[in-house]
């Protein structure tokens, strides 16, 4: 919404500058987006008069002019063909920046004659797209007058109107708030009624009272339509509206002045002598004023005559009955359309007209007759003619009811200390009326429905500057941290992974449905109806696709070596409980070659990082089962495992991404990855005491013994380790594989797994016989639980 200071002054007696108006608007809640101020841009330019213009001695197309300027008589070289003695035009002194040409004037000889300034065209001042010669202004303008004044250029204030304030969509509404804020005196916006001199020949029929409950109309005959006068054209042009003709311009003016949309029909083109506001009929078409034809539905309110639908009610008029310079009889419509239906019609048709915007937000239900009276006055002034009676069909829509209000509530809710008199005077200035203990909101304020609204009115006009800064009362929180164990875990995971060398990133929660399908997602319930892009149309089932694609993008930029992680939501369905928090990491090792022959990172590097992280998060890593079968399709077969406490308690999964998936996501391999589902990690029971269990350290040195077992190739080493460890839970402190071998010396289909067992004597040193007995137990356990035999 845009307006100018002169327009505001039609309704507000004020001496305030543009800057003061903008400041007052901001503090009253009107968010000014932008002020376009030609006066400041053209501050250096002023009116000048050419006294003499003679041919340049050395150039055919140049003239040397003697010019009376704000700086006295100046000799100026000018190339414009219309530079002539007696012309009043615009002068720029040396040193001026010329916006249209982007240069700053310097004293320079033009073919031997020094020019002491410049005479300007409209294009050079950027007041017109192009121009032919220097500006030609009225002789009555005084030398030295400012260019912006001479060209009637005004600052334009552009601001945003929040949806609660439809009254701010008219300049009067802004004037009212600024007046309440002390910026000036509001002029009475009332319009004197024009008595009709004949009955209105157009009948009004309302057959959809929910969509259009009230409609006022009036015919004016004997008019002469044509271009609007300069003041009206300038006013509309300043706020970005195109002047059409006087009748149409009058409706646009009132729309922006009073937030009261109107429509004018060429009465001679209305068929059947009536106007009907009804719902559309299936398949009906309306050729509208924007040149497009709209197919309406029974949800849309249309205006019709006996020929059918001729307009979209409250949204856009039809081209068949539009006013032209040939119009001699005009029918003026001042109606009220239901906000919700009008908003829906705007969405359905894609029309966002000034009328639609206002009706959708709620037009003052008491503005029908004042609006038509103001239009009558202007039409009679601009086009002549005589007006009929006003016909009013339907019933005025209800205004908001009165609100119970105790002035003490201002202090209770805002903390502001405002005298009761001042409270009543602010509310009075905004149009509220006291009715005993109740307060009646004005008809243009559909947003006010409770006492808190009134506190806002008082507080914003009194000024938020005065708000005290009051410390919060002592915290209701008990001592200790505020994070839940899960929240602490997430925080720890972030720092731990960053310390382990992974870069944290954030990927979209949505991905392409086809990509989601590759990772077990893409279900109907997670597809977006209105995605921002076709490839972001489905909620992700996993953090993997985002990270894998990130690896691909980095590789294509020339940086294939990536270790990335993300902690964020993943979705199994659209119910709250279907959302889980996943810690997802990928490792795409493409590090520099090493001079020492050391190995680069591999799947076991990633496993080490995963296990260290799970330890850090307090997961029961010692009890986790590593299950390799039944891997989902995005993992490389045979290089996938899940870590679980049981089939229904899967905590994490890791492995190498399937090459087909990498190809589909245009990402070079190998890519290793893990996922941890945070909520699946059991939470430790809260303990009342912080002390840790007592620590018993053995004074006896641990010893190690190596065992080489032969097992079937397919049997997991993990099974063997668990078997060894369980052989004696007291004495065996650890078992680690230190060699895996297949080949000569080991029977085909088998592998040799060498295990170093750490034995921790408890209360006495072990004798050779005891160690022998323990070894025998280890070998027996390995045979029984893991099918292993000691390698001979």
């Amino acid at each position: 919404m845009k307006f100018t200071l002169s327009w505001l002054k039609e309704h507000l007696e004020t001496e305030a500058s543009v800057a003061e108006v903008v400041a007052a608007m901001t503090m009253a809640g009107l968010e000014v987006e932008h002020v376009e101020d030609p006066a400041s841009k053209l501050a250096a330019f002023s009116v000048a008069k050419i006294i003499e213009a003679v041919q340049h001695p050395n150039a055919d197309r140049l003239r040397v002019c003697q010019v009376d300027t704000v700086d006295g008589r100046k000799e100026i070289v000018c190339g414009a063909p219309n530079a002539r003695a007696g012309l009043t035009t615009i002068y720029a002194p040396l040193g001026t920046y010329i916006p249209g040409s982007g240069i700053t004037l310097e004293p320079r000889a033009v073919r031997g004659v020094v020019s002491n300034g410049m005479l300007c065209s409209a294009a050079e001042l950027e007041t017109a797209e192009e121009s032919d010669g220097i500006l030609e202004l009225a002789d009555t303008l005084a030398v030295g007058a400012s260019a912006s004044e001479a060209l009637v250029l005004e600052a334009v204030i552009d601001f945003e109107v929040t949806p609660n304030r439809p009254d701010w969509l008219g300049v009067v509404g802004i004037a009212r708030d600024l007046s309440a804020a002390g910026l000036g005196v509001l002029k009475d916006p009332a319009v004197a009624a024009t008595p009709g001199v004949f009955p209105c020949p157009i009948d009004i029929r309302l057959t959809a009272p929910d969509a259009c409950p009230a409609f006022a109309g009036r015919l004016i005959r004997g008019i002469k339509n044509g271009p609007s006068p300069a003041w009206l054209q300038q006013r509309l042009k300043a706020v970005g509206l195109r002047s059409i003709n006087a009748l149409v311009d009058v409706t646009n003016l009132i729309t922006h002045d009073r937030a009261r949309p109107l429509h004018v029909y060429d009465a001679a083109l209305i068929a059947g002598g009536f106007i009907e506001a009804r719902l559309g009929r299936e398949g009906e078409q309306v050729p509208a004023l924007d040149g497009k034809t709209y197919v309406v539905t029974p949800e849309i309110c249309v205006i019709a005559d006996s020929s059918g639908a001729i307009g979209l009610g409250g949204v856009m008029g039809g081209s068949s009955t539009g006013c032209s310079e040939a119009t001699t009889e005009v029918f003026i419509e001042s109606a009220w359309f239901d906000p919700i239906r009008t908003a829906q019609t705007g969405r359905d048709t894609g029309i966002n007209s000034d009328a639609q915007y206002r009706f959708a937000r709620g037009v003052d239900p008491l503005s029908l007759v004042p609006g038509i009276e103001l239009a009558t006055k202007l039409v009679l002034e601009l086009c002549g003619g005589e007006a009929s009676d006003i016909v009013f069909a339907g019933e005025t829509p209800p205004v908001r009811g009165a609100v119970a209000f105790d002035p003490a509530y201002v202090r209770r809710l805002s903390g502001l200390d405002i005298a009761e008199d001042r409270i009543w005077s602010i509310l009075g200035a905004l149009g509220f009326e006291r009715r005993g203990a109740l307060l009646q909101p004005p008809s243009w304020r559909p947003d006010v429905d409770g006492k808190a609204d009134l506190v806002e009115e008082v507080a914003r006009i009194a000024g938020f500057d005065a708000l005290p800064a009051e410390p919060l009362p002592a915290s209701p929180r008990a001592t200790g941290g505020v994070l839940t164990p899960r929240q602490s875990r997430i925080r720890a995971a972030r720092r731990a992974l960053a310390a382990a060398g992974y870069q944290e990133t954030i990927c979209w929660s949505f991905t392409a449905r086809s990509t989601a399908a590759l990772f077990g997602g893409g279900g109907e319930s997670l597809v977006l109806a209105n995605p921002i892009a076709a490839d972001l149309d489905c909620m992700r089932p996993s953090g993997l696709p985002g990270l894998i694609e990130a690896v691909g993008r980095n590789a294509r930029r020339g940086f294939p070596d990536c270790a990335l992680f993300e902690i964020g939501p993943v979705f199994a369905g659209d119910q709250p409980g279907d959302q889980r928090t996943a810690i997802t990491a990928v490792l795409a090792p493409h590090g520099p070659r090493r001079w020492d022959g050391g190995a680069s990172d591999d799947l076991f590097t990633l496993k080490a990082d995963l296990m260290a992280l799970l330890d850090e998060l307090g997961a029961p890593t010692a009890n986790l089962q590593v299950v390799q079968d039944g891997g989902p399709g995005w993992w490389r077969p045979g290089r996938y495992a899940r870590l679980q406490l049981g089939p229904k308690a899967v905590i994490a999964a890791f492995g190498e991404i399937h090459p087909t998936i990498l190809k589909a996501l245009d990402t070079p391999g190998p890519v290793y990855a893990f996922e941890i589902w945070v909520e699946a990690i059991p939470e430790a029971k809260k303990k009342a005491v912080k002390t840790k269990p007592a620590l018993t350290l053995s004074p006896l040195m641990p010893l190690t013994r190596d065992f080489a077992f032969v097992v079937a190739r397919d049997r997991p080493a993990g099974e063997l380790i668990r078997a060894v460890q369980s052989a004696d839970r007291v004495l065996i402190a650890g078992a680690r594989v230190f060699d895996v071998y297949e080949g000569p010396g080991v029977e085909e289909g088998n592998k040799s797994v060498a295990v170093e067992v750490t034995i921790q004597p408890r209360d006495k040193t072990l004798t050779d016989a005891e160690i022998e007995a323990l070894s025998a137990k280890i070998i027996a356990a390995a045979a029984k639980s893991a099918g292993a035999t000691l390698r001979s």
Binding site: G29, F464, A469, W508, A529
Partner: protein, 371 residues
């Protein structure tokens, strides 16, 4: 001492001190001091001598043995030291060679800013409440006083999921305010997962961090972004408490003694009165300097919780009142750390992450600073 002994000693000492390596030296030792060695034979011969003869020869032979043995030992030490030195010299490493590259991880700036904000609000007694990203109309709009079909809903550019079999249209939350609703509204049905906020009785003091979504994409808007909202409900909380809380936050977050802020009326359906807070800043140099200059940058939307919202959540607005605020986390990070384009935050460019990311050890703490 006989000439023989003198000659023997001279020969052994000469050969010992000039032995080229420990092998030669050992051969010499065996030759004189071994079981069948020359000196061992001489020592054995002492037994067959007469006492007088032994008196003379004994000290002579023993002296010979001691001198030769110590000469051999000395030479042995010398040779071993030389051998060790030679071995160590051969083992020289070029330490200008690169060590294996170790990856340098980092924390994403948005998450760093989240942690900073959580630390500051934790100090002010706020705990964390969370809720799902996929919400229903009630929690995201209706309970928050957005009337059905009201134009205020359009301001939110909502992402919708396709309607389910029952016709219900789920949406991606446009703010984390639904978590406020979940915290205030006490219902009989459990929230679906233990991490999702359940209703609690006032007084309430929470922040709700998380992902939020709106259909927008340019340098200052992304279709997904992060918010931290706050909610305080108590008996006598007014706008002055809100102003104090936000001033406290801003000063701690930017670590500036005097940030000039301004409260400006605004409109949100879920607060009344509503305000936006701006911070004074200077953007003339191409980067934002908070606490300087004469421009204003909007930093947070806030207000007193609308009585209708309290009512919708089953809280009596005549007994309880309070405030709510909402920060854009990515935006705040951008203001503080100067990333030029918000879209880069979600592009996963490893160079960007290395440049704008934070060390694992830069966790905000009361001792090292909360920002």
């Amino acid at each position: 001492m006989t000439t023989d002994l003198v000659d023997l000693e001279a020969d052994l000492l000469a050969r010992s001190t000039s032995a080229a390596d420990t092998g030669v030296l050992e051969a010499i030792r065996l030759e004189c001091l071994g079981k069948a060695g020359a000196i061992s034979a001489l020592l054995k011969s002492l037994g067959s001598m007469s006492p007088d003869e032994r008196k003379v020869q004994g000290p002579a032979i023993n002296g010979l043995r001691d001198r030769v043995a110590s000469a051999i030992a000395a030479r042995k030490a010398e040779l071993e030291a030389a051998e060790l030195n030679a071995k160590l010299a051969a083992g020289r490493l070029d330490l200008s060679l690169p060590a294996p590259a170790r990856r340098r991880g980092s924390v994403h700036p948005t998450m760093q800013v989240m942690d900073e904000m959580i630390a500051i609000f934790a100090e002010l007694g706020f705990s964390l409440a969370e809720g799902p990203d996929i919400e229903d109309d009630f929690h995201n709009f209706t309970a928050l006083n957005f009337p059905p079909k009201h134009p205020a809903r359009e301001m939110h550019d909502t992402f919708f999921l396709k309607p389910g079999p029952d016709g219900e249209r789920k949406l991606l939350r446009t703010h984390t305010s639904p978590v406020q609703v979940r915290t205030m509204q006490r219902t009989n049905s459990p929230p679906g997962a233990s991490w999702i906020a359940a209703g609690q009785a006032p007084p309430i003091r929470i922040i709700s961090p998380g992902r939020t979504y709106r259909m927008d994409s340019d340098a200052t808007h992304t279709p997904m972004f992060h918010q931290i909202e706050g909610l305080v409900i108590d008996r006598d909380i007014h706008m002055g408490h809100l102003k104090w809380t936000l001033d406290q936050f801003i000063a701690r977050f930017f670590e500036l003694e005097s940030v000039v802020t301004r409260f400006r009326p605004h409109h949100f359906p879920f607060t009344e009165p509503s305000a936006e807070m701006d911070v004074q800043c200077d953007t003339s140099g191409g980067e934002v300097r908070i606490g300087q200059g004469t421009e204003w940058s909007e930093i947070v939307g806030c207000g007193m919780v609308h009585p209708n919202v309290l009512r919708n959540c089953g809280i009596d607005p005549d007994e309880w009142q309070g405030f709510a605020f909402g920060f854009g986390v990515d935006r705040l990070g951008r203001l503080k750390y100067g990333m030029p384009d918000l879209r880069d935050m979600f592009a996963s460019d490893t160079r960007w992450l290395a440049h704008y990311g934070f060390s694992a050890f830069a966790a905000p703490s009361t001792a090292s600073g909360l920002s």
